[in-house]
Symmetry: C2
Subunit: 212 residues, 2 copies
């Protein structure tokens, strides 16, 4: 079997992509500490996965580690970086600059990972600006033209739940392909669009089940 | 087999608990619209899962739906509520009131789902207050006494990544059993503690892989 064919995006499971990002961060720390090779056991422990899982994930890239010597940190880093496409800064828009949306805009935690929030949109831009948002806030009627003119593919969605699906339909029609959704709703999109849900209340509910 | 034994927390898989929360929300909407019974197909579609998955999840509670009539909304609601323990307002503390932490405190999205953030802790409470946090912000040296005196079991962790593990060790020693972790680090905890990770940059990375 030609392993080079396995590097395509189709062949790596969706869950494995998350783990690759985590391995990448661990490897960056190892490199910063001038570590040249790492065993599967050590890397798996740092990433919080089982060794067997790690070996299976890295096997998507073909044969890698040298038995007894471990994985070469530098080569593994560049292979994962190429796969994840981390070399490009991705422009992101944020839609819905209410309490959570404007909080996320003040957070600035995305930039250091290679994402730039280039604009925010809200039905009431003046209200958003009054919440201390320093980024340009446009009326949501400008969504389609902005997405088209700036070739934006990623959007963070923080609109009230009752507007979420309608806004998503507009985003997808305008060319958005990836949505980070903070609204507690199951969004319907076409198969070529990826939605990742971040539902903070759901996470707390889940935790509270396990602490009883 | 006695199905009543299957309602215990041990027998429902961790992933299924997330889905139960989502079914619960969908059922609440149905009840608000005065719908009395719902088919597995309809409920599954609203929750964004396959019908077979829904039927499997609800089978943890024993025999439920009546063939051809669907599930009784009221009974299913109360059964899931009892299972998730949603009837109690859970006190939560937030540790690390920096950019993201103070943003979450301003968000107020947890309360409507039954969680109250009762206090925030920071190494520098004055700086946190200057970020507009209105909640009581205590120095982190007060963590142990506050957790003990108020029987807090849930914590939201937003401290800088280099302090995260040390803070978690203190939280767990003081009695915290569930942690919603926003630091991009794999935390090590004992098996009786549950950690759910919310990593916003990781979610964006994951999306950007699929939009290329």
């Amino acid at each position: 079997m030609d392993t080079s064919e396995k590097i395509g995006k189709i062949d790596i499971p969706k869950k494995a992509i998350y783990r690759l990002s985590i391995y990448y961060r661990c490897l960056q720390k190892l490199k910063a500490n001038e570590v040249e090779t790492v065993s599967s056991t050590t890397l798996a422990k740092a990433a919080g996965v089982k060794s067997a899982q790690l070996r299976k994930d890295l096997a998507y890239f073909g044969q890698f580690g040298t038995r007894g010597l471990g994985y070469p940190v530098d080569i593994l880093l560049s292979t994962i970086r190429d796969t994840l496409g981390r070399e490009h800064l991705q422009p992101v828009i944020l839609v819905g600059a209410g309490n959570l949306g404007s909080a996320l805009l003040r957070y600035h935690g995305f930039e250091k990972e290679g994402f730039e929030v280039v604009a925010a949109f809200d039905a009431n831009p003046d209200a958003a600006r009054s919440r201390g948002v320093l980024l340009a806030v446009y009326p949501d009627s400008d969504l389609e033209s902005f997405i088209g003119e700036n070739s934006v593919k990623l959007a963070i969605l923080c609109v009230p739940v009752e507007f979420a699906q309608a806004v998503v339909n507009r985003l997808v029609a305008a060319g958005i392909q990836g949505i980070l959704n903070f609204s507690p709703i199951v969004l319907e999109v076409t198969p070529d669009v990826t939605v990742n849900n971040v539902d903070l209340a759901l996470e707390l509910e889940h935790l509270s089940y396990f602490i009883r």
